[in-house]
């Protein structure tokens, strides 16, 4: 087992553990903090898979921008601990967990089977320069410009939605 594999399994265990905390926790603020841990360990996994650009983007955009937005909203609204009414019986929980296990088995076997057999491509280089060269090539340039319009629309939409009607 190489040192990369050891780090991979450590970060994968942290990611799964904190993801379980996100789902199992009744208070949304604790869920948000657990999700930040998940996102940061996923960033380490991206780095181990040879994608430094996406790893940094994951921390800056996801753990930074998006989760701070979540925490702002959690602080803005008076969020209470989720109470557990009778309709959330444990039979329902057991069903959800069993169906989740079936989903893991199905998706995992399909994904793993599609990558098994042939080895991964050698000499993988996903440095920021290489990714940027592809991003600004004609294949992706127009999609990239379209996302800027999407973000502008989201910005205007978010302000219009959250504004108090006068």
């Amino acid at each position: 087992m190489t040192i990369d594999a050891v780090f991979f399994y450590v970060f994968a265990a942290v990611a799964v553990g904190s993801a379980l905390v996100v789902v199992g926790q009744r208070h949304p603020t604790y869920s948000a903090f657990a999700l930040i841990v998940t996102l940061c360990s996923l960033s380490a996994v991206f780095g181990l898979l040879g994608s430094p650009f996406i790893a940094v983007l994951q921390v800056v955009v996801y753990a930074g921008a998006i989760m701070v937005l979540f925490l702002f909203v959690l602080m803005l609204l008076s969020v209470k601990r989720e109470d557990s009414p009778a309709r959330r019986a444990w039979g329902m929980k057991a069903t959800a967990i069993a169906l989740g296990a079936v989903l893991v088995a199905q998706v995992g076997s399909v994904l793993a089977a599609s990558a098994r057999g042939t080895a991964a491509a050698p000499g993988f280089n996903a440095s920021t320069g290489q990714v940027a060269r592809l991003l600004f090539s004609p294949a992706y340039l127009y999609v990239f410009e379209a996302t800027s319009i999407l973000i502008l629309a989201a910005l205007v939409g978010a302000v219009a939605l959250a504004k108090r009607e006068t």
Binding site: L111, R116, F124, A126, L135
Partner: protein
């Protein structure tokens, strides 16, 4: 230099596990914001699958798809949280069952 070549299949299994945890969370939790965070978790599991397949095929298109998923997720989070704030103002609750005001 061949980083992560033998980690592709474990990464795909991790991706499947995280996606399923997100799905279970969407079904189990009642708080809108927690459900929204579980959706973000599912998006991240898909991102991991993109990165793993990008590594496996040795092409960079998967990296760019993750890049676009990130930007769309940022836009989605902004609009979604604004909707949650507006709906909470209307109903004074964050329970998912009370969020039936978006339909006609």
């Amino acid at each position: 230099m061949n980083p992560g070549a033998d980690l592709v299949v474990p990464a795909l299994l991790l991706s499947a596990g995280l996606f399923a945890i997100g799905v279970v969370g969407v079904f189990l939790r009642r708080n809108v914001i927690t459900v929204f965070m579980c959706v973000e978790l599912m998006l991240n599991a898909v991102n991991l699958a993109f990165i793993a397949f990008s590594r496996w095929r040795g092409t960079l298109d998967g990296q760019l798809l993750v890049f676009f998923v990130l930007t769309v997720a940022a836009a989605e989070a902004a609009v979604g949280l604004a909707i949650i704030i507006a709906a909470q103002r209307n109903r004074d609750t964050l329970d998912l069952d009370a969020f039936n005001i978006l339909k006609w």
